[in-house]
């Protein structure tokens, strides 16, 4: 459709230099974002493969596809790969890396070489984890609970621990880069109150990465030492406390879920504003709520330990705090919804994902409140109710946010439009497939089906079959974008600078941007989301 125009293409970050060295030694935040995109997509399929095997096993009540020990490894590695090698990096390392400098008018992040180091640490960690998978895997549950992980498991716990330890440093360095960049490198006129809400949410995410991940690091190190040197820090027969491990582990791992959801909320703000052509309702509230989520998120971790043996009084405190942490998230949902009121809504692919996000995140969040209630948690802890709850947030929320963001910024990243019809179809498949996969799990959990079990009573089979059927639809929904994004890089319509007519500095430079982002340093004299000044797009394709 536009092949003749390619020979007169402007110089941009993609065509400035060719060759593998120019990619593997790049310090350009946009290229690093693409390096991450490729890597996390790879691990997404590894994690998805484990999920597929889990769902295949659960088609029948008997344990007949894999052995019990193998099943333990499947759900453990599914969790670890998806969380540490896909979800935690996803939006920050791909969209954040690409967009943060562009959105604030900077030429790059504050520390470009550390950014590249961050990717290499991720790759090293990922390679070690792959080796772990093929040499026996991990069967401790993604949570590495002691003393099983330290004293009894016969799997590659040390290797997995070291791998995730290194991945943690990748995450810390990304967060550090973002905080310094946002504080120090905003273009003239880009005051805090003019920042896109995407930046506020990424900033909040980075705070969590900086303050929480080191605790995971030291905890994994202690597990490695305990296992390697036969210590007794977490061994109850030697005076150790397994709950100490859980306190330290969840001090990070609860805020980690906010590392996963805040960036999706970041995307949500940008997409909703653009496709309702309105300023986000209650900008200050949304910005402050991001910070509040980051702070409150550190105060609730022991709600994962209600039935583990913590004191009743601390359980009460953590329960109350867990209710409070829902408030800022709710504020954001109300504000996005209020933005849509009397807005001029377009049902583009990103907006479809945004709608999906609001509904599914709300369901996931509300079911979190069920779990925060001590009495209910006693009943549904360690059942499929919990699994459904967190998949609603992490998949229905975070992954849909990621996909929505990828579609929204794809023209900027690649200079091409993805095919809109296929985009909408994939979004629909993802939404239908997701709900079919995970809604039955709420019911299963409430009925009492435990998690991490390889076989189950026959009365649970119908719901399990529905869930597995849903997962195949979901899988197709995920594969489609991979195919058409790749297709679009060669055959997609060439994108203009601002095909969506969106607000934001990133849309004021070319698609794709030049290596140093802007021809001239921008000077900002307008408020964020100034949609009353931006004409709605008449044409999305512009030939060069």
């Amino acid at each position: 459709m536009a092949t003749a125009a390619i020979t007169t293409e402007r110089e941009n970050y993609l065509n400035k230099e060719y060759g593998i060295r120019s990619w593997l030694l790049t310090t350009d935040h946009k290229r690093i974002a693409l390096l991450y995109l490729a890597s996390i997509t790879f691990f997404f399929f590894i994690g998805g493969f484990f999920a597929l095997l889990i769902r295949l096993e659960l088609l029948t009540p008997a344990g007949d596809l894999v052995q019990a020990d193998t099943y333990n490894k499947l759900f453990s590695m599914h969790g670890q790969v998806m969380i540490f090698f896909f979800l935690i990096p996803s939006i920050p390392a791909v969209l954040g890396n690409f967009l943060v400098p562009l959105m604030i008018g900077a030429k790059d992040l504050a520390f470009p070489r550390i950014n590249l180091l961050s990717w290499y640490l991720y790759i090293i960690a990922g390679t070690i984890y792959l080796h772990c998978i093929v040499t026996g895997g991990v069967d401790t549950g993604w949570t590495f609970y002691t003393p099983f992980s330290t004293a009894f498991s016969n799997t590659r716990v040390i290797e997995a621990g070291i791998s995730i330890f290194i991945a943690g440093f990748s995450s810390i360095l990304t967060g550090l880069n973002f905080v310094v960049t946002i504080h120090r490198m905003r273009a003239p006129g880009m005051t805090w109150s003019r920042l896109p809400l995407f930046i506020w949410a990424m900033y909040a995410t980075s705070i969590i990465q900086l303050l929480g991940t080191p605790v995971l690091a030291i905890t994994l190190l202690l597990v490695v030492f305990e296992r390697a040197f036969n210590l007794g820090i977490f061994d109850p027969t030697r005076g150790g406390d397994p709950l100490l491990f859980q306190h330290l582990f969840w001090f990070y791992s609860h805020p980690a879920v906010y590392i996963m959801i805040l960036p999706a909320m970041a995307v949500e703000s940008e997409v909703v504003a653009c496709f309702t052509r309105k300023r986000i309702f209650g900008y200050n509230f949304v910005a402050m709520s991001s910070i509040a989520i980051a702070v409150f998120g550190f105060l609730v971790w022991a709600h994962h330990m209600f039935v583990a043996g913590i004191s009743l009084y601390s359980a009460l405190v953590f329960s109350i705090l867990s209710y409070l942490v829902a408030v800022p998230s709710a504020i954001k949902v109300f504000n996005w919804t209020a933005t849509m009121y009397k807005g001029s809504i377009s049902f583009t692919t990103p907006m479809l994902y945004a709608f999906g996000f609001i509904g599914l995140f709300t369901m996931g969040g509300l079911t979190g409140l069920f779990l925060a209630c001590l009495g209910i948690d006693v009943h549904v802890h360690d059942t499929y109710f919990v699994i459904a709850h967190f998949h609603y947030i992490m998949v229905g929320g975070a992954v849909m946010g990621y996909l929505g963001g990828l579609h929204f910024w794809w023209p900027k990243i690649s200079g091409r439009m993805y095919p809109e019809a296929w985009g909408r179809l994939a979004a629909l498949l993802v939404f239908v497939g997701f709900n079919l996969t995970f809604f039955p799990q709420f019911i299963l959990g409430y009925m009492g089906m435990p998690r991490r079990y390889w076989q189950y009573p026959p009365e649970f089979q119908v719901l399990n079959v529905l869930s597995t059927a849903g997962s195949t639809i979901l899988a197709i929904g995920y594969v489609l974008p991979m195919v058409y994004f790749l297709w679009s890089m060669r055959y997609g319509k060439i994108a203009s600078d601002n095909p969506w007519g969106a607000a934001g500095l990133e849309w004021k430079t070319s698609s794709p941007p030049p290596t140093f982002n802007f021809e001239e340093e921008p000077e900002v004299t307008w408020e964020a989301y100034n949609y009353e000044q931006i004409p709605a797009p008449a044409e999305v394709n512009v030939e060069r």
Binding site: L176, H183, T219, F229, N230, D241
Partner: protein, 234 residues
């Protein structure tokens, strides 16, 4: 690009990286970056301080006995060594600010010497623990402590937790010292080459912040590990 033009290159030295607007922005970014990194280190060590807090609360007697078995003189001397090294670091940054290259190199070298002294003394202490069979693992044996303190009940399993934390905390601290010494070797080399001037001494400053932080960790480790209970026994 404005910063690529020949005139612009002349206006700033080769140390100014292209994505920064000016030297001040670069220095402010470096400073904030280092402080944030130190914040992550506070949480990193903090996890072990949490473990220490819980187990000292549970096993005070064993912690006290273990603490007494450490050499308070070596510990105090080591604390003094690190304090001296912080002095040489602070004076070194000052020398860089004033453009005194030779003085800077001497102070950086002195800092490295103090660093090695600390590590050497730590090595001696650990060797003592090895001889006394206080290193956790298969040859761990605290019969000597049980004998020395008949008035309190010492459970060897709990005593092992104290020593596990002792080695984990001092080990992690020593690793940070080694990294610090490595950084300072680089700084000394570049200082000797004349790279640091009153206009540009950021690496020295940042290295100094890191070194001071490692000193502060020890300032807390010393009383928590060595001074739990040194009261004369009845």
């Amino acid at each position: 690009m404005l910063s690529d033009s020949p005139i612009a290159v002349e206006q700033h030295g080769p140390e100014l990286l292209h994505h920064f607007v000016d030297a001040e922005q670069q220095r402010d970014a470096a400073s904030l970056g280092m402080w944030l990194f130190l914040a992550t280190e506070v949480m990193f060590f903090g996890g072990m301080f949490c473990a220490y807090l819980i187990y000292r609360y549970w096993y005070y007697n064993e912690f006290a006995a273990g603490s007494r078995s450490l050499d308070i003189y070596l510990g105090t001397i080591n604390t003094a060594v690190l304090i001296c090294s912080s002095l040489t670091v602070a004076l070194g940054v000052r020398a860089a600010q004033m453009g005194k290259r030779k003085l800077l190199v001497i102070l950086l070298l002195l800092t490295i010497v103090f660093g090695f002294a600390f590590l050497g003394i730590k090595g001696v202490e650990w060797y003592d623990k090895y001889k006394e069979h206080h290193i956790p693992g298969n040859s761990f044996n605290v019969d000597d402590l049980v004998k020395d303190y008949p008035q309190i009940h010492i459970d060897p399993r709990h005593e092992q937790i104290y020593f596990s934390l002792y080695f984990a905390m001092t080990g992690l601290h020593a690793l940070h010292m080694i990294i610090g010494v490595g950084i300072f070797i680089f700084l000394t080399y570049y200082a000797w080459k004349g790279r640091y001037t009153p206009k540009y001494y950021t690496p020295v400053e940042m290295g100094g912040l890191y070194w001071h932080f490692v000193d502060i960790v020890w300032i807390y480790l010393f009383p928590l590990l060595y001074l739990i209970d040194r009261k004369p026994l009845r």
